[in-house]
């Protein structure tokens, strides 16, 4: 039991997940808790600490073996100071999460954005292996984006970025989370798509959805939507096609800017209809790509599912802690 271990942590809007990995990325133990963001950041960080401790216990290893902690957080973070700047879904602001965990565990802590963690996970272990630069696009409640450039997570010194859901896309379009009319997430997120399908169901134009899920956004899950697609519900097919082709055009714009070698599409909705997403994103890209960029990026679907985040957080922590000397408090 002399081996070193690493903690990967995924702090989500509704649940948190901790895992202990050995140096070959074998999972030795894990723990999951509800986030309960509404209890505030102080209680929240206590729950994070407890969750990490429980995962260590589950792994049957000692704190001494832990070489470092990587934690993915749901919002923009400051990578140098290890601060979660803002977590809209939790209602938290400016949480010095690296300091708090270092004080508790006396170990190096690396904070990253949760989508970046997932994309880095795919880069190291999943659909991004073998590429030097990958762009991850995850349509969910919003649209998450992450970019690995020349082998590293792309972020600014003071703030994570690649907030592709908040790019202007359709002037005077719908208002989404940030109050910005026609942002990409207002058009192509799973939630935006669900809401269009719910309207179709309300008007009697999506009977399979109306039958199985009604008109409640909380019930229209990825599976509901893929069932309606398979049933060839005409208006559902149109809604999906329109939203995903549009996403493809926006991705073409990202290719003109970033020229990633690979685009990785992920998230529950993509995974429920991978072929459809791959095809329609490519259709949208082909409408828009300049000839010189036509073949520079391949489009693939994510492979790791929910574990991308904890695996990526772990791998990134190892990458960073290997690079810099970090005081262990």
């Amino acid at each position: 039991m002399a081996e070193r271990c690493w903690i990967g942590f995924d702090l989500g809007g509704t649940k948190m997940l901790a895992a202990v990995y050995d140096e070959e990325y074998r999972c030795l133990g894990r723990e999951r808790k509800k986030t309960k963001g509404y209890l505030g950041a102080e209680v929240g960080v206590e729950r994070v600490i407890k969750c990490i401790q429980d995962a260590i216990d589950d792994a049957g290893c000692s704190l001494d073996q832990i070489a470092g902690i990587g934690i993915g957080c749901p919002g923009p973070i400051d990578p140098e100071r290890g601060v979660l700047l803002q977590a809209p879904n939790l209602g938290w602001k400016n949480v010095p999460i690296a300091d708090l965990l270092r004080k508790q565990f006396k170990k190096p802590v690396v904070v990253i954005n949760d989508v970046d963690a997932g994309v880095y996970g795919e880069y190291e272990f999943g659909a991004g292996r073998g590429a030097r630069s990958i762009l991850g696009v995850f349509p969910g409640t919003g649209i998450g984006g992450g970019f690995v450039y020349d082998g590293k997570i792309f972020q600014s010194r003071r703030i994570s970025c690649m907030e592709i859901g908040h790019i202007p896309t359709v002037p005077n379009g719908p208002i989404a989370s940030a109050g910005l009319p026609g942002s990409l997430e207002s058009v192509s997120s799973r939630l935006a798509i669900s809401a269009l399908i719910a309207q179709a169901a309300y008007r009697g134009q999506a009977p399979t959805v109306a039958g199985s899920a009604g008109t409640d956004l909380a019930n229209i899950r990825s599976g509901t939507i893929s069932d309606a697609l398979e049933a060839k519900e005409p208006l559902v097919v149109e809604i999906l096609t329109h939203a995903v082709v549009q996403l493809g055009r926006s991705i073409a714009g990202f290719v003109h800017m970033l020229a990633p070698e690979r685009i990785i599409l992920g998230g529950g909705l993509v995974e429920a209809m991978p072929d459809f997403f791959q095809k329609k994103v490519k259709d949208g890209m082909n409408e828009w790509l300049l000839p010189a960029y036509a073949d520079c990026a391949e489009v693939v679907v994510a492979k790791l599912g929910d574990d991308a985040g904890i695996q990526g957080a772990t791998a990134w922590a190892r990458h960073v802690i290997g690079d810099r000397e970090q005081p262990a408090d």
Copy 2:
């Protein structure tokens, strides 16, 4: 009881309503039934006939007294032939409703579109009195429009029109009922607004809505929305403002085309927040109106509520039957 009477009928997506009026438009009797459109047009017309008969009975008058029937129908109609061409909400097509009712009652029958009926009702008895041309705008499940021009319902010889919900408005915008991306109804209908608010509730950004109605479109009624507006829920205010200002810009375009003397806003959502709608529609109009048209149209709110349709159908039938000799079969 020698007086002549008229039947006004409102055939809706979920319910039908018949009323008997005397020549001073006093209501002598009325009847309401469920439409049950899914039973098909033949059964449906039988239900219409029964509903009319029951209203006559309720009025205590005889068929001899009936001078004519006016019926508003939910979809484009052919005014010359008296045919309901298409009723998307009922799933009916090409129903020769004038012929069928004439055959039954041996009375002149006038068929109009249901929104036209409501607008004509407002013109004769409500918010449109005293104007020679009024444009009615009713944001509901879609967006109904009707235009009274020089004292008459504006329609083509072969088809009713003023389908303002299906005007291109936001290129690449959302897909609504007709599969057209970014039509006006996809942006500014009550249903489109509800769906944006449901998304806000889903993301935790509209707590009063989430608390009272959840995230189900069927539960987010006009009252739910006006409560959230009064509670000054910030994202709800933004969503409403954006949708209604946009409606105002589109109405400015209609003013450039039609120069109505008066704009009448109606429907449940408008009636739940009349001041807000009036103000924001004007804001949008003022952004866009050419100077020469700046003051040509006043903006008011409908007055008659649900009875506009039966009253308007009656009045239009009297107008038309007074004009032309119509064979009573």
Copy 3:
């Protein structure tokens, strides 16, 4: 020479045109002058009077024979009071042109908008014959529109309308004459198209245009554009297709509102490439029309060219003066 005659007048941005017609619409005389709007309205009306007098002289008839005058004006007019409300191209405002001409000639005068005059001309004598309602669409410096409904020019009591060039079309689109971003004229007018082609020429992407007309908007005439279309200059074809298909989608919106029996496309650019315009407008309409309206309007090209305005002004004056008693001062 006892026959009655009528004066048709077309007041344009750069030239004015008067014609004398007999009751069979044979042209007995005509006169053309420069408008010189920059000299002001007072001088301008003097020039109009002189132009009419010269046309009467040219016809060899006496003032006694003149039954009335119809004058089309370049801007919104008040049909009841006979006032030119605003002429953006002339810089004139509130010119009581009917009063001024009546004072001079002691004859009934009817004032209409110049596009309405042209559309009414097509209705009576050209591409609109036999239809009861026609919508005229004329892409030029702006986009003129006119509508004949049930045999009459469609206008409000106090102001002409159908200003279809100033309809919101592309949110955040280009700024055109009225400062409105993305109005229809900013997208599909001849001038907007010319400006896109001039840019292509500037970038070396439209060699035939660059060779024959350079990059000056004043030199890129309808013929220049149709030559480039025939030469299959790729970017010119794309620019034209995009602009005209978009016009077609907007026209589909007008059909949903007005259900005209016939659409008449006119103006120099349309006449230089009639087949292309007819086809691409239909393509755009077919993308957007609801099934019930799919076949209600045919699309044709104007037939009368520049004479549509004077013929239409004459015919409308006869129509109106026949209808009402008008004091001859």
Copy 4:
């Protein structure tokens, strides 16, 4: 004269410019020639070689002293292979420019995109000094973009990128160079702005422009536009404001993705009205930026003018050649 020297080269659409710098970046000699792209790539490269040779002669130094050559090219390049992939303005494709120059001069050659060269110049010597990441935005015939990330030009292994002019911006907007409707360059480039102003001049709505430059795009230079802005020509002010605020919103989107520390606006039009651009870009950014990104990027104006390209090409060549061993053929 033992010191080492470097060649910086800027290959432009109309002219080419070579300069010889010593290690303290003092300019020892320079030469300028017309590009004459229409003569083809082979002749073109001969002209490049001659231009370099003349600059060396002008500097009075020997070829032995030259340590390397950096050349900025007008189009996407392959940085590893040193190939100019496509030069739309020259009509060239796949020119192995590094190989050709190495064969001639037996020196290391580094090829970059011309906008990247200019941005790197600003980063090393101009408005970007002291920042670790800068985003350059240059509205000209198109809109050039360049990004320095963590001290290096941001590019992919096989292709340069940051083609921000070709991002989808206004759905169904104008067609620009690449045939893409509503790309950023179609809305906010100097050429797009000039074309809107030329239209205003054509309609008589921009008299100062009409007087000094007419309606020819080739005559409407940055100075013409800034004169009209200073004269407060109302429609010109609106056109400029609309285009630059829109650019600001798009830049906000880039900030969400890239979080640069500094935005550098450059090019002739910006330099002719630096305060206006800075203010209106900020206005657009403020409309759109998420709170967490509100203060992360400052907006400044470029300082080096036309020399940014040769200085940046030189500095980047030194950076790269210092990094890697490059065979000198």
